[in-house]
Subunit: 392 residues, 2 copies
């Protein structure tokens, strides 16, 4: 086990009706807030009305900024920063999924920065403060409700970059599984693929003596797969959504990756897809992950045997580690397929013409200084290209 | 799954050498601290010297209060409160195990309270602030390094009572498994029994649809048992102690009990033993827990079958749920026995003469108003007495 520093201070308020007390939860922290959200669904569902009613009842003033899109855009972040400064906003309440929360975090740190907040993403600059962010989660997927991470797309540069800092961990997050009942089936599937990937990126490691976190990762993965299949056939199943929502937070609050080298190769490879093609992050991950497994598993066969046995339930008389691993990967593909997720880049509408360009951007080779991605196996741009081709 | 409110802000700094930067970790938070510890072992091992050197190097002033005993005493807490007030202490650093940390928490809230801090324990009074507490853990057991809980013994009244409040959650906790190498074998065993009990108290529940936390509980229990046996035979095995230490924190930071009714019957029954007989908490739990299981399992057979199968590895052709449960309990007793833990009250030096007195104190019947303990099965004083007799 490696040394580690674990800090996950976000308070999680979980369950039926919790969003209706958002006003009283925020009142001790701010007189005036920015209410940040995406499209029309939070209006149509009546959620926004209930939130604003709760804010008013608690005497919390608010200004609104809607319009966050999936793969949230830098241009709207700039708008939010200006608005917060002009209105002396003290806290940002993100009502939505990971895109809205990530956009809120970008605004939260941008308010205190004189330059362009894109500098943080591109240059990894440190920050020493940010506005507090609270969230009401409407899509279990990104884990942004407990993490200090944010991913923003610079639409001019066609770059999608992440940034992480403990100052960006939300103050509190409300999670009511009932808010997930109206999600379309593809958002369930994409979210599950994203949450599973957050665990995979931490699980697959060359670090040894990691019994506890191995087990935590495996439990989260099994819980996600079991309940995803239940929710798929019964989209208003509270218990299934509760398991998915809670698992999504545990998947990404840091705990299950403590003391282990982490990977993040698939996330890096996927960001290139969604930066150019604007595909759903989870769908991109569902395509890439099994291909990545096939490409890298020989570097640590025992780790992938453990995955096949403990997570995918492979058992029996194989007498052949490679066969066990391949059966595990086959079952993962089968699960993604059952969830209605794509299996190839072609199904995502991605042709072969820009694969090399994306591979070179992924490792930085396109910009003249290559830094391999991935942890279990270091991936250079040729490796990334090989994986893209494996799943074309 | 029940609604829940999860908040575990304690930062955990884990691994080799982490204690040597305690000064720089605390300097941003306090100019002057109380250095609180127990007996001579932290002096003999050189730990206290390294801590004070780090504090001095970082310019953090300190006053010392040693002498905390297992089952920490209210009288020393009073002394600590006076000292903190007189010296204008801004933070308490507990160097030790759960007893030292619990004592530090009592002092931390007592400083701001005009009456006797025992009121909190006896009357459950709320608090709105406390001095920040930091810890350097020397015994993985109580989980107090991440919890908001404290247990204090009032030696005059022969009462041992607990209190919990989120203001008492440590600011940060340092955990270096190397500091556990010199523990005597019985402290390893007692600590493991205590950590397992923290999971058991959350695991055994009548709440349904708790896939994620069921799995988290089971993983922590399996990790504890596996690594306890390794450490028992190899007391300087870093990896085994690392798993035990990390598991102890996860067992008690709240996570594994979220969304489920909890039990705490065994803890309540054990507190009566250690209040009168001053036995080690973990040893008392090791005696009581299997007896409690036998006494209550018929109220929720499927829960105990799950325990026997998923935690104790019972499999095969039993065709009889009771037999599966009894085999699970037998294996748990066997594990405790292998660890050198006692199996009966007699082995703890506890006779039968005061069992009824303890049972009646446990539920409050002795004080004229009975509140049954336990969650999976409500236990009245007669039940508690039955369980005491079952393990006499």
């Amino acid at each position: 086990m490696n040394n580690f520093d674990f800090y996950a201070p976000a308070r999680i308020l979980f369950g039926r009706g919790e969003e209706n007390r958002i006003g009283q939860l925020l009142a001790p922290h701010a007189k005036k807030i920015l209410l940040h959200y995406g499209g029309g669904s939070v209006k149509r569902s009546g959620l926004l009305d209930r939130v604003t009613a709760s804010l008013k009842a608690a005497g919390v003033e608010y200004v609104e900024l809607g319009g966050v899109k999936p793969n949230p855009r830098l241009s709207l972040v700039h708008e939010g920063i200006d608005l917060c400064r002009k209105e002396n906003v003290e806290l940002i309440l993100a009502v939505g999924g990971g895109s809205v929360i990530d956009s809120a975090k970008a605004i939260a740190m941008g308010v205190y920065y004189d330059g362009d907040v894109w500098d943080m993403y591109e240059q990894g600059k440190g920050i020493d403060k940010a506005l507090p962010v609270a969230t009401i989660l409407t899509i279990p997927a990104a884990g942004s409700e407990s993490s200090g991470d944010t991913v923003i797309t610079n639409e001019e540069k066609q770059l999608k970059l992440g940034y992480g800092n403990s100052h960006l961990r939300p103050l509190l997050s409300v999670m009511n599984p009932e808010l997930f009942f109206t999600l379309p089936a593809n958002q369930l599937a994409n979210g599950v693929a994203d949450m599973m990937s957050h665990v995979f990126e931490r699980y697959f490691t060359n670090t040894t003596h990691t019994d506890l976190t191995d087990g935590l990762c495996e439990t989260v993965l099994r819980t996600l797969m079991k309940n995803a299949l239940i929710a798929k056939d019964d989209m208003t199943n509270y218990d299934a959504w509760a398991e998915l929502g809670f698992s999504g937070t545990v998947a990404h609050n840091g705990l299950v990756g403590m003391g282990r080298d982490q990977d993040w190769g698939c996330h890096n490879m996927e960001h290139e897809l969604s930066a150019i093609y604007d595909v759903a992050h989870g769908a991109g991950l569902a395509v890439l992950t099994p291909g990545w497994m096939e490409y890298v598993y020989k570097d640590n066969v025992p780790m992938f045997v453990q995955f096949a046995v403990n997570v995918m339930g492979v058992s029996g008389s194989y007498r052949d580690p490679d066969a066990i691993v391949m059966e595990g990967i086959r079952r993962l593909r089968e699960f993604f397929r059952k969830m209605g997720l794509p299996g190839t880049l072609a199904e995502l509408g991605i042709g072969e013409d820009r694969l090399e360009e994306m591979a070179k951007k992924c490792t930085g080779a396109a910009f003249g200084s290559e830094h391999p991605v991935g942890g279990l196996k270091k991936l250079y741009w040729q490796d990334v290209l090989n994986i893209y081709k494996l799943v074309k």
